[in-house]
Symmetry: C2
Subunit: 192 residues, 2 copies
């Protein structure tokens, strides 16, 4: 969905508009999940009608924004060195994930509201795959526990990450300490 590359060609100005709209959507929805289509159009410096020209529904737009955020986050994650000791790899991965997750918490909430159940989860396939692989390999190394399903462990990591973002947002956790706190907590769960 959301205008894939199926269209044979698209004019350069359209391409530009779409990029600006998606970018604005990411920014606004990350600050306030109930930002309206009109707000987003304004922020993108574009008429509301132009938005509807590229995204049939609000849901389409939100999904595009989430896709973009996930893609960007995944690029960051892809740059993390996962070789060697699984414990160190997790630490490095979390140090990067932390920011991505904290930034997009509100956007995620917006998506959960508008998109059909399970869609949000589907869109996370890539980062989930990455984390699953890492945990599996740690388990093979005998470093991580084997008494809980990998899928659950991956989920717990996500929930802790989001929880920390929420605590920081609410001012109950200093943001400088967040990464360290998250890492310690996650490693405890993973090693058992």
């Amino acid at each position: 969905m959301t205008a894939p590359s199926a269209r044979p060609r698209r004019r350069a100005d359209a391409e530009r508009s779409i990029a600006r709209i998606v970018s604005a959507a990411r920014t606004l929805l990350s600050a306030d999940p109930s930002a309206t289509t009109d707000d987003i159009a304004r922020a993108a410096g574009v008429g509301r009608m132009t938005v509807y020209g590229h995204f049939r529904t609000r849901a389409d737009l939100v999904e595009a924004a989430l896709r973009d955020a996930i893609r960007a986050g995944d690029e960051t994650l892809a740059a993390v060195d996962l070789a060697g000791d699984a414990r160190g790899a997790v630490t490095r991965l979390l140090a990067s994930s932390w920011e991505v997750v904290a930034e997009s918490a509100a956007l995620l909430a917006a998506a959960a509201e508008v998109l059909p159940a399970g869609r949000v989860h589907e869109l996370h396939a890539e980062p989930v795959r990455r984390m699953t692989e890492l945990i599996s390999s740690g388990r093979d190394q005998g470093v991580f526990r084997a008494d809980l399903p990998v899928g659950w462990l991956v989920s717990v990591v996500q929930y802790i990450l989001h929880g920390a973002a929420e605590e920081v947002r609410a001012g109950r956790l200093a943001s400088e300490e967040a990464a360290d706190t998250v890492t310690k907590s996650v490693l405890s769960v993973l090693t058992g």
Copy 2:
């Protein structure tokens, strides 16, 4: 707020209506956080106007429902034996918390949407106090870790609990295994 016992007297039928409305609100909002005031009135077997007679705004109603759920949950928790070994106490506490949390996840979402920031957290003061005390005592016993703040540990427990509820709801975790899985995960984080 929400009609405390400040009012000198209230007629018996009004008392009855309020009880039915709050109960219906809890049930409906726990299934669908966007249930309308009208839905709730219907389910309570009461006219919509009667609801507005007791709760000025939707937010008031949602808060009353959440209060009631927390109070009921807290009663369950109060029955848990917290004496002796902190590890065992946590295990028992989680076995009970699990159901409470899983049931009210949607209600919580409704409250988060409608109530001012921080209000939901305030309303949880009692269960949070309970958990804080337990973790502190475990720390004094030397059983739980001391390298992370108690407040954070309490939060993590909540996030894991809610996460598990979500996983069960999405069909990614069998509900029979949930309690055990949660317990193992939480104990890992607490012991470090």
